[in-house]
Symmetry: C2
Subunit: 192 residues, 2 copies
DNA sequence: GATTTTTTAGATCGCCCGATCAAAAAAACA
DNA sequence: TGTTTTTTTGATCGGGCGATCTAAAAAATC
């Protein structure tokens, strides 16, 4: 019973993701968001509770569509080391195109220190990335394309570190040489 | 001619640094800052022009007192590799103590994408850090404590990447194991 | 001591913020 | 068709924001 919602939930959350991603949590106003989502402010509050509630939904949506999707691609790849190289090539290319960086890393910086509950979600999101790297490295080690002598946890963390710093430097507008240099020294080389 | 200023400029800028460092640029209000600096709002505007002007001064002060000071310590160290290890040990310890991270990295994330002029200052600041690392690595190579076969620019950038990601993870409240793992795989080992 | 210049204190400006409210609209039930 | 439940609209709330204004206070110059 009751009036139907006039919006598609995934669509409006995607619009919210775009807003938070571009300008951050604090600098994106409810009015900005409502305009992007093409709905009234009261509808927004009725559907998502408050700004924080909407941000949590947006972050989960970003995790599903960006992080988890990419980790699933790694898991599905026939050649794990090549897939990692592709991943980082795309990362560098995306980082040179725009300055949005990664919503997860942006939120880690802006929101985590003042919202510990959200901080835990963000930490979990990064852990999923780390674990995805670790699985892929282990597959590459079993396959023989990565030295099995290294601890896969350490390599995974080195890759996570590279992702984070590239995402930070993307927001600074740093050049290709710097980003590629960071990726090169974190990623196990292709030919052996 | 004219009335003398009732405040010590370095003191009040230090207070501004503390404010911006703790809460970021956008979330620190002029009233917050004026209270910390123990001066009236009008005096603040009279002395620094506007909020952005104060932030620029605060960032320069941070560069002088934190970044450049630490780079000077590296340059002055008798044992360059040991000094680098000390630097990163201190970095990890500080990152476990509080979530402020690094004002330069915080500003890179929050301010650089929307203020290109300030972004250039931040980029210059990080370049100074990178150059400091490079000089220290080169000294270590001449000394024989670091493999002279590596390109010092690449090692320096790997260290910069480690600093950045540790600073990000500090704001997330990540644990010692993760931070140390990142540092360990970026830093040339001590014994050879 | 009068004048000029600068800094101070406190009030205030217009604006935008997150959030809420009352009332109308739309759908499901009786 | 009348009742009930939910969503929508548009106005509005109190509050904090960056910035400015006026006037008084303090110092240097004449």
């Amino acid at each position: 019973m009751g009036r139907h919602r006039a919006f598609d939930e995934e669509e409006v959350i995607d619009a919210a993701v775009a807003g938070f991603w571009e300008k951050g949590y604090g600098a994106t106003s409810i009015r900005d968001l409502a305009a992007r989502m093409q709905m009234g402010g009261a509808s927004l509050y009725n559907a998502f509770g408050d700004k924080r509630g909407l941000f949590i939904r947006a972050l989960q949506r970003y995790l599903d569509l960006s992080s988890r999707r990419r980790m699933a691609e790694l898991d599905a790849a026939a050649d794990p080391l090549a897939a990692l190289h592709d991943f980082f090539a795309n990362l560098v290319a995306a980082s040179l195109c725009d300055r949005r960086g990664c919503l997860l890393v942006n939120a880690a910086m802006e929101v985590a220190p003042i919202d510990l509950e959200l901080g835990a979600d963000i930490r979990d999101g990064l852990k999923e990335v780390e674990d995805g790297f670790r699985r892929t490295i282990e597959r590459a080690q079993q396959e023989g394309s990565v030295d099995a002598g290294m601890r896969s946890e350490d390599v995974a963390r080195r890759l996570l570190s590279a992702v984070i710093s590239v995402r930070v430097l993307a927001r600074l507008g740093e050049d290709r040489a710097l980003l590629e240099s960071i990726v090169r020294s974190a990623l196990p080389p292709r030919e052996r």
